[in-house]
């Protein structure tokens, strides 16, 4: 298919290399990192108010983490060779580190933390359930059914320790994606030391917003009362981190405009034309300024719970949409202009192919299917009532 080119592009640059699937990947790992940071707020930083979302945040992180490699596999020319990244990783390549960072985060952080937190429930269910479920739970116990005080205390300490390691690990999981782009000197839209930092903060924003929305949605679905103290605290943290994220992105923008280097004229034109809707309207105005304003106002004025919930839903949805737009603008935007700074191309997104829109939509739905399975297998909410009982509970997590 003929791709229309405006101006001049090097002949091999006309066709985009990285498609919507590569937009999806940082979006998904961002949600993972963000959800985990929310969970760690309670576990490490003792923000007790957000406890009701602790387990849900972990399961959300896991659901998305399981889907994360799929867009990459579907994008590769030879997915059957992807094992080479584990067998002969090229140590100078940030992408080679993906396999190990992902595996580390999956095995040593997320799965381990979930397992330790849920172990009591798993052992109990392995004895009380029947059929296939019993088999699954028995496998998950790894054959050990010891639930003594000391073993649970050891789990608690170890879980705390893992969460502490998990925070920099989550930063690494998503920060390295920022580095993959930020370290490419050939592309001035990407090349920046700020890139990993911006990615991490926008990841936290999207993850926290996603868990907030999931908490509200799932609680309503189960016909329970939403814990407003929890929700307000989450919204507050979302607001603070969003302000930092916005400041970083504005700093990058202002510096670019001021320095106006060789690439500036070309990039500026691109933003004003091809990226106008996705960057200025969707990402900045609707996806950042508006949610920050909404959340900020909620910090100051006093309104009814019902009204505040609606505002949070709106802000949360806009946030998630805005962060997706940010990934789009980075990945697709970085390929729309020529490295000669003399021309532009277009992204012709396919629909029903391996790298098409339909695949992208399916990959966005899949984590929720995984989440559905996980919340059935390992329910993250208390059985009776949704407001956590005050006072000490013997094992952490059964809030």
């Amino acid at each position: 298919m003929q791709i229309p080119v405006e101006g001049f592009m090097y002949p091999n640059e006309v066709e985009l290399q990285w498609s919507i699937l590569i937009v999806l990947y940082p979006f998904i790992t961002g949600l993972v990192a963000g959800a985990f940071i929310l969970a760690s707020l309670e576990r490490v930083f003792r923000v007790e108010a957000v406890k009701p979302t602790y387990r849900l945040a972990l399961l959300t992180a896991l659901s998305f983490l399981l889907v994360a490699p799929l867009p990459l596999q579907l994008h590769l020319g030879h997915p059957e060779r992807s094992l080479e990244m584990y067998l002969t990783p090229h140590r100078s390549s940030a992408m080679a580190m993906f396999g190990f960072v992902y595996l580390w985060y999956l095995m040593a952080v997320l799965l381990l933390e979930i397992w330790l937190d849920y172990r009591r429930d798993i052992v109990e269910k392995s004895q009380s359930s029947t059929g296939v479920a019993r088999l699954v739970y028995r496998m998950l116990t790894l054959g050990s059914i010891n639930l003594s005080e000391r073993s649970l205390r050891i789990d608690e300490r170890l879980g705390y320790f893992i969460t502490v390691i998990g925070i920099p690990s989550a930063f690494l999981l998503h920060g390295y994606v920022g580095f993959i782009f930020g370290s490419i000197k050939a592309n001035p839209w990407w090349s920046s030391p700020l890139m990993p930092i911006v990615f991490i903060f926008s990841a936290m924003v999207s993850g926290i917003a996603a868990v907030m929305l999931l908490y509200m949605f799932s609680t309503r679905l189960r016909g329970r009362e939403i814990d407003m103290r929890c929700l307000d605290k989450i919204a507050q943290y979302l607001f603070y981190i969003f302000v930092i994220d916005f400041s970083l992105e504005m700093l990058d923008l202002i510096q670019r405009i001021y320095e106006a280097d060789e690439s500036f004229r070309s990039l500026d034109f691109m933003v004003h034309t091809r990226l106008w809707v996705s960057q200025v309207v969707v990402q900045i105005l609707l996806g950042t300024v508006l949610p920050i304003a909404l959340l900020g106002v909620m910090q100051i004025v006093t309104v009814s719970d019902a009204f505040r919930k609606r505002i949070y839903v709106l802000a949360g949805c806009l946030t998630v949409m805005g962060i997706f737009a940010m990934r789009w603008n980075v990945v697709i935007g970085g390929q729309l202009f020529s490295k000669s700074f003399l021309g532009y191309t277009s992204y012709k997104m396919a629909f029903a192919t391996r790298e098409g829109l339909l695949t992208a939509i399916a990959l966005l739905i899949l984590p929720f299917i995984f989440l559905l399975v996980l919340v059935k297998l390992l329910p993250p909410w208390p059985d009776a009532g949704s407001v956590p009982a005050s006072g000490a509970t013997p094992a952490h997590g059964t809030s």
């Binding site: 067998l87 002969t88 090229h90 095995m107 381990l112 790894l142 050990s144 010891n146 073993s151 050891i154």
Partner: protein, 171 residues
């Protein structure tokens, strides 16, 4: 001391699940190491972080252009003709295309006749970006649509006298 020993046994019992987990991870690690030894290509790392055999494989590709030395080994009369003119610097295959197959089997693989209207124009059609000293013409004005080899002999392009060479064909 029986009391202390019972305490130690209890410790192991209380971290039994962690020991089992560690065992699973250790098995996975060993499996990975074994897999790696079996699957990574032998020549990997020979010269650097890549499959060393790839160098020889790349070098073993068949060539499509024979190179003018090969052409000149047989077509000596053309060589002599070219030596007298400006096209001595132009390789045979620049106009005649890749001829390694012909060099391999001169009898059965014969190069096709060239259409000089196309071949000559590629270099000699006037263009403002071509170096000023380079011979170039606006072919429509220059020949009025006639094929270039009507007047020019491509192997020795300069026209010595007003006489035309064999009309419409190459010598």
């Amino acid at each position: 001391m029986p009391g202390a020993w019972r305490g130690k046994a209890n410790v192991f019992k209380d971290i039994e699940h962690l020991i089992r987990l560690a065992a699973v991870m250790a098995i996975a690690l060993v499996a990975f190491v074994v897999l790696r030894a079996a699957v990574v290509p032998r020549s990997f790392g020979q010269y650097g972080h890549y499959r060393g055999a790839a160098i020889a494989e790349t070098a073993a590709r068949p060539v499509a252009f024979a190179g003018h030395d090969t052409c000149e080994a047989c077509h000596t009369e053309v060589v002599d003709q070219k030596k007298q003119g400006k096209h001595v610097v132009v390789a045979c295959e620049a106009c005649h295309g890749a001829q390694a197959k012909h060099a391999d089997d001169p009898a059965s693989v014969t190069p096709p006749k060239l259409d000089t209207a196309i071949v000559c124009a590629r270099c000699h059609e006037a263009n403002s970006a071509k170096p000023k000293g380079f011979p170039q013409v606006a072919t429509a004005d220059h020949s009025g649509g006639l094929a270039c080899d009507t007047c020019h002999q491509p192997h020795k392009p300069k026209i010595e006298s007003a006489e035309k060479t064999t009309a419409g064909g190459m010598k």
